[in-house]
């Protein structure tokens, strides 16, 4: 294994993929509730809160695990403090556990969500950042401890690599951008305004910085590509991500009550957001073509390239389709957004964390080779299912946009009568996705620990 610190990364990865599994199971329940609202003992809002919170938390745990792994590999030294990292891990898990218990209690007894010291005790009722104030504080402390530990590790050796720099900058930006979502705002317009600072500047800002740093690290590790070249392109990519993404935030400010100039700003800058994503595709294909060493961890490379491709498809294409105000006027608030959300989160961030897990796996298990076939099987089950989930939701969204926004039919009529079969397709492919996740989870626990298959 090399470094004792890699046990920390392994802990984070284990918890991340268990939450991933939970996310998909509750996702299937939520999908069935579109057809039968009373299908489960908990109402849709609770199930949906669990679905999206599990997503955010498992991705963050995955980022933290991957960051601990990358920082140690780049610095070629143990973490600044392993006990602190261990404490940070268990404190995070405890906080997440308490928040989930709170959501479930509230699901059964909505009245239990009482106001304490001016804030709601169990659920703040704001999408994605439902976690109550006391949990916000604990989450911020956890992220600060994580930042301290990774930064001090980089500091210890005075080796400051470009990957470390962008990775730490991304994590710092992530921590700072959590803060605009912590405070209560009387005005619903400003409430949503600040809420989007968190959501948008995370997924289209800070998280993309982290993704670009991981990409440069992975291409070097897997292919032996030149570090200076990789770093240069990484800076160009993250530069363009920030130039388009920061003001691309405007595409969320078309219809929430904010001034009309956001229509222009959001439209222009968000239409340019796919540019860096195309560049990443080109960069990773070119680097792969000119690999300077034979690729041992093929499945790791496969997931990395797939992440780059689906970053462009999910975040780029499925985003840019409906980002112009002229189109968004009809598609805003419909299943088109849901379709984009699913393929983008899968392509950009789920595949990224899974790629980082496969890249770290040989080191974590202390082997040079492992049986890679299950990784591909899991990939195809998940990816084909996600493509069909996206098609089902896109179909539902087109029908909904047309019938509801153009024809003026009622929301409930469209949902229950015209989109019925789309919900059924989505649930069926959700089960297909679950199969893929189960194969992946099995692979995570057995790969590297079993005898190698003879012909692989």
């Amino acid at each position: 294994m090399g470094y004792e610190s890699h046990k920390i990364a392994n802990n984070f990865f284990t918890s991340a993929i268990l939450l991933f599994l939970i996310q998909i199971v509750v996702g299937i329940i939520a999908a069935l509730q579109f057809v039968w609202p009373d299908f489960f003992i908990l109402n849709f809002n609770t199930i949906r809160t669990l679905h999206i919170n599990a997503l955010v938390v498992w991705l963050l745990l995955g980022f933290m695990g991957a960051s601990y792994y990358v920082i140690v590999e780049e610095s070629e030294t143990e973490l600044w403090s392993i006990p602190l990292a261990r404490f940070q891990f268990w404190a995070t898990i405890l906080t997440v556990g308490l928040v989930v218990i709170g959501y479930i209690i509230m699901g059964f007894y909505p009245q239990a969500n009482i106001t304490v010291f001016g804030t709601l005790l169990l659920n703040e009722g704001r999408e994605y950042i439902e976690a109550p104030r006391w949990a916000d504080i604990l989450i911020v402390v956890s992220v600060l401890l994580f930042l301290l530990n990774t930064t001090m590790t980089a500091w210890k050796t005075r080796k400051f690599t470009d990957v470390q720099g962008v990775l730490i900058a991304g994590n710092l930006f992530l921590a700072l951008m959590y803060l605009p979502g912590v405070f209560y705002t009387k005005n619903m317009i400003m409430d949503q305004f600040w809420w989007w600072w968190v959501i948008h500047l995370w997924v289209e800002g800070a998280w993309e910085l982290i993704a670009a740093a991981f990409l440069a690290f992975s291409l070097h590790k897997l292919l032996g590509a030149d570090r200076t070249m990789l770093a240069k392109w990484m800076y160009i990519e993250v530069g363009l991500v920030m130039f388009t993404g920061i003001l691309g935030l405007g595409h969320h400010y078309y219809w929430i009550g904010t001034p009309a100039y956001w229509l222009w700003i959001g439209g222009i800058f968000s239409a340019l957001e796919p540019v860096p994503l195309v560049l990443m595709v080109w960069d990773s294909f070119r680097t792969t073509k000119y690999a300077t060493k034979p690729v041992e961890n093929r499945v790791g490379l496969f997931y990395t390239i797939s992440h780059v491709v689906f970053n462009f498809v999910g975040a780029g294409l499925w985003g840019v389709f409906h980002t112009l105000p002229q189109i968004n006027k009809y598609t805003h608030g419909t299943q088109i957004t849901t379709a984009h959300g699913h393929i983008a989160f899968y392509g950009v961030y789920a595949l990224l964390v899974l790629a980082m897990i496969y890249i770290a796996l040989p080191t974590l298990r202390g082997v040079k080779q492992f049986n890679q076939s299950r990784g591909y099987v899991a990939f195809w089950w998940m990816t084909i299912s996600m493509i069909f989930i996206t098609f089902s939701l896109t179909g539902a969204g087109l029908v909904q946009s047309y019938l509801e926004r153009v024809m003026g039919l009622d929301y409930v009529t469209v949902k229950s009568a015209y989109n019925h079969y789309f919900w059924i397709f989505r649930a069926v492919f959700g089960v297909g996705f679950l199969v893929g996740v189960l194969i992946f989870v099995k692979d995570f626990f057995v790969a590297g620990k079993e005898p190698l298959a003879k012909a692989s």
């Binding site: 009245q111 240069k232 530069g239 006027k329 409930v412």
Partner: protein, 220 residues
Amino acid sequence: MSKKTAKNFFIYGSIFFFLVLVVLTIDTMIRVPKRAPVITAEVDAGKKVWHKYDCIGCHTIMGNGSYFAPDMTNVAGRKPKDFLKKFILDPRAINPKAAMPKLGLNEKEADNLMAFLEWTSKVDTNKWPPKPVLAAARKEASTGQAIYQNQNCAACHIVGGIGGTAGPDLTRIGPKWKSEELTRYLKNPASVKTASAMPGFAHLSEQELKDLSDYLLTLQ
């Protein structure tokens, strides 16, 4: 381009665009209060009710939320207030097919939530949601049908596939009612069905009520 140039391009470019965002944010904060009515104590209390019951866990508002239930931005402009309040207090008593569960709001919470939804319906959202094309192209065949349109009955009722689902589907309502009884019902629903959540249309003249019920009786 050297690595160093690329690095500076990233760092200084990001700082520049972030500063632009901060300036635009300050401008937005100055302009936003003028784009919506004043926030009263009831509106603020209603917003807290909105958060307390995690309404966004199913609904959208200004188009953001969970896409599982109707958008609430201008619901107060689309549906009668009395109906909305009764529905929120016990959805399935009003519409047995409703997907919404009884969340246990009390009277005061429901009133505050109404105030909040009335506030959001008056926010200047740059004309979103768009007015459906069909509504503009629709022509009335009879006086009664014209009244059906201008009283916005379709907000809650369906005729021939078009309309809302808060109230019963009226597509084949004709044979189920007698003319005199229906006119009385339209004027004051509670006088015929005590549990009805439909608001009365007593502000219409006797002739208008008669025309409306004549139109409804033709639906079969």
